[in-house]
């Protein structure tokens, strides 16, 4: 088998699917945008500038217009009502083509699918199409300074007014894309007298109202892309409510399942084509000079690279196996709940290993003319913590898996 075949995404496919894949692949090849001439972010978590945003919106729009987004969403909201499988194929081919990522990821992967589950018809009609077209960017307002892992402790208040509308006061943090967002999925407390979980509600909050202050935060890489958002009596219409009042925690858990890759239905597939990362690692190993030659010739590094390859392949196989219920009979939720945990830690070890192999060359930073791959690897290693912390820290996810999948007693 050639290298390109070895790292491909899927098992043997029915003819129609294989044809669809080839069609997408050809389109990507023909339409992938050229290098814009300025630094692009590594993922949607690091979008800083207007020009980055414009470029990425235009690209997502192009993919949508070509008919490759929202494939598994209903036609009446802008989708195509196809099986989820086709959307996954688009995601895989996007990654394979090394095309830019889809910038409205929070809308496509978390907000949209949640609205599809809990939204009224009016909400679906209004919200979903602009998610696909990237006309309206979404952000997520779950975490607070005092409620990071313990999301249910959120204290941001949504106070109901006489006319049924709400006023929001509070403080959200780690709000990726808030600076660009038209909408926020917001977890807020509507009933402070109710229990910790029962007092929460879930809203589709319009960011362009008065009383909203977005302050950029800077990541350890020096990059922006996430923010804190301060609400000072900000107004929100009655129909911003998603689901029922007091149902917020349940709705948020659904969102978290999408966020952790534990449920299907994202409008645009995640960029997780298999083989991509280890292939990049191999390229680093072949260029990384060690005392004994190149890292690719050093048995100690070879052993670690092989281990990562094994894990990457195991993750790829998870995607196949997750769709055969009988092969998950003993622990139906396991593969889905562990996906984000395993991937994020694998990814962290992989990017750290790349830095290790590169040695001093990995200590050069963005802007240095000799930096290897524009300092991609130390940057990727630092950014990898975004994934092991955000969307449920690895520590919290181990609790979740232990409790929900294995029935171990709750640690709290």
């Amino acid at each position: 088998m050639s290298e390109s075949e070895r790292v491909s995404g899927e098992g043997a496919e029915p003819k129609e699917i294989a044809e669809f894949r080839l069609e997408v692949r050809a389109w990507m090849e023909a339409n992938r945008p050229p290098d814009p001439g300025f630094k692009l972010p590594q993922s949607f978590l690091e979008v800083e500038s207007e020009r980055q945003l414009d470029f990425l919106r235009a690209w997502q729009r192009k993919v949508y217009d070509a008919g490759y987004l929202g494939l598994d969403w209903p036609a009446e909201v802008g989708g195509r009502g196809d099986p989820a499988k086709r959307q996954r194929i688009v995601g895989q081919e996007l990654a394979r083509a090394r095309a830019p990522f889809l910038v409205n990821a929070i809308g496509l992967q978390w907000a949209g699918p949640t609205i599809l589950v809990y939204g009224t018809d009016a909400q679906k009609k209004r919200m979903l199409r602009p998610i696909l077209s990237a006309e309206e960017i979404w952000c997520q307002g779950f975490s607070e300074p005092g409620a990071g892992s313990d999301l249910a402790s959120a204290t941001t208040r949504a106070e109901k007014q006489e006319d049924g509308s709400y006023r929001v006061t509070g403080h959200k943090v780690w709000t990726t894309l808030a600076h660009a967002a038209k909408w926020m999925i917001l977890l807020a407390r509507t009933d402070p007298s109710a229990g910790k979980y029962e007092g929460l509600s879930f809203f589709l909050f319009p960011m362009d109202v008065p009383g909203v202050t977005v302050q950029p935060l800077v990541k350890m890489t020096g990059e922006g892309g996430f923010n804190q958002v301060i609400f000072d009596n900000a107004p929100m219409p009655a129909d911003a409510l998603l689901g029922r009042e007091g149902q917020g925690w349940d709705v948020a858990l659904t969102t978290l399942l999408f966020e952790r890759g534990a449920a299907e239905g994202s409008g645009g597939g995640q960029a997780t084509a298999s083989g991509e990362s280890v292939r990049a690692l191999v390229s680093v190993a072949q260029r990384a000079r060690r005392e004994t030659g190149f890292a690719a010739d050093d048995p100690v590094f070879r052993d670690r690279i092989a281990q990562l390859w094994i894990e990457e392949e195991a993750l790829r196989l998870s995607a196949l196996r997750a769709r055969v219920p009988e092969l998950n009979a003993d622990r139906p939720q396991a593969l889905r709940l562990m996906n984000k945990l395993v991937y994020s830690e694998y990814n962290q070890r992989l990017s750290e290993l790349a830095c290790e192999m590169l040695g001093p060359d990995a200590t050069l930073w963005l802007g240095d003319p000799c930096a290897v791959d524009r300092a991609e690897w130390p940057r990727a290693y630092m950014n990898s913590f975004g994934m092991t912390i955000g969307g449920g820290t690895s520590e919290i996810l181990r609790n979740v898996i232990g409790e929900r999948v294995l029935g171990l007693p709750k640690t709290r």
């Binding site: 075949e5 899927e10 043997a12 195991a314 294995l406 171990l408 709750k410």
Partner: protein, 383 residues
């Protein structure tokens, strides 16, 4: 592009087999029976062995033309996982290796001669894997086959021969004067063959030293195909068969530890409350599930893309080896003082893990080959 089916080729028939296997081994091989057989001279239950034969499971993957069920590798992996879960002491794996070898190296005449009896469970086969100098690959073979009147004379020492003391038929790699390795099938007992049971760390798995002291075999006893190639194919299948068993056993060790973490209280709490107990259990579960992915993937590869199965097979054995080792290490540790005694069943899994990791290549062994396939242009392994 060469790909396995997206559902691994899994069918309802496979599911029925899996359930039936789980039921049968739960009933016929509870841990009390494993303990009984651990002290038994023979080391397995001939009744259960006979039953596996009559269920058609001894020849599950053997072609129908040779008396097997011809169901392929995937159901075999599912069956082996269930055997591993119960640590079923059995010559099953031994006989399987022999049938893989005869299937890989034999002419159709030779297959027809030996496979049906193995597939029916009438005869127990085995493959001589190791020699005193170590290694199981063809290049490690030092036993010799000298041409002699009407056949060959075999000489050499073999070790760690699975079910060696029970086998009716031994497939043995020997080096011919040309330097080539060939596989010979020796019906046992045979003059010149001495079988001595080894005292192994794992009492649920019996092995033997086999001395070949001038053993005369007929020409037809030499399998027609290249011995080296046949061994390679056999080994790859062996990696996955053993990995499947290991995944089942690791899963059982995990469940046992999980159950203990729920039942046992200290400091007024179930110990599974404590993350120092909970998180290692979760990590073991993750490892078991990932290793299971590889077993399924590799099994499907043998069924659908056999020319591209070596890498998945090595991945399965490498990961299963590490995961099983971790599962029992944590298993003993988290059971505390009780886990350290012979009263706790964990030690049986612990010993099986030691044996299984060491046999047919461990993590470092297979990762070395995988790295070559990934990193070296002129890798010998087909990727």
């Amino acid at each position: 592009m060469t790909r396995i089916p997206t559902n691994f080729g899994f069918t309802e028939e496979h599911e029925m087999l899996r359930q039936e296997a789980r039921r049968l081994f739960a009933e016929r091989c509870p841990i009390s029976e494993v303990r009984r057989l651990a002290d038994d001279a023979l080391g397995f239950d001939p009744g259960l062995w006979k039953e596996l034969g009559s269920l058609g499971w001894a020849g599950l993957a053997t072609g129908e033309q040779y008396g097997g069920a011809g169901l392929g590798f995937l159901p075999l992996a599912l069956l082996l996982e269930e055997m591993g879960r119960r640590l079923v002491p059995s010559p099953y794996l031994a006989s399987l290796l022999a049938s893989f070898a005869i299937d890989a190296g034999g002419s159709s005449t030779q297959r027809a001669r030996w496979l049906p009896e193995i597939a029916s469970g009438t005869r127990i086969g085995t493959l001589a894997l190791y020699e005193p100098a170590g290694g199981f690959e063809a290049e490690n073979v030092r036993a010799t086959a000298e041409p002699a009147e009407g056949g060959f004379v075999l000489r050499g020492q073999k070790r760690f021969v699975l079910a060696g003391a029970s086998a009716d038929c031994l497939v043995v790699p020997c080096r011919e004067p040309s330097g080539e390795v060939s596989l010979f099938v020796v019906d046992l007992p045979a003059r010149g063959v001495t079988v001595q049971g080894e005292i192994g760390v794992d009492p649920t798995r019996r092995t033997a030293r086999v001395a070949l002291d001038g053993v005369h075999v007929a020409c037809e006893a030499r399998l027609d195909g290249s011995g080296a190639a046949a061994l390679e194919r056999t080994h790859a299948r062996g990696f996955v068969a053993l990995a499947a068993e290991m995944v089942g056993a690791a899963d059982a060790a995990l469940v046992m530890t999980r159950d203990y973490a729920i039942a046992r209280k200290q400091f007024g709490r179930q110990i599974g409350f404590f993350q120092a107990v909970k998180h290692p259990i979760v990590d073991v579960m993750i490892g078991v599930e990932l290793a299971r992915n590889h077993v399924l993937g590799a099994a499907a590869a043998f069924d659908h893309t056999p020319h591209a199965a070596e890498i998945p097979a090595r991945m399965a054995k490498a990961l299963a080896s590490d995961v099983f080792a971790t599962a029992v290490r944590k298993g003993v540790q988290l059971h505390g003082g009780y886990g350290f005694t012979i009263d706790c069943d964990m030690h049986l899994y612990f010993k099986r893990a030691l044996w299984s990791r060491a046999t047919l290549g461990d993590g470092p062994h297979h990762r070395r080959r995988l790295a070559a396939a990934l990193l070296d242009r002129d890798a010998a392994v087909a990727v």
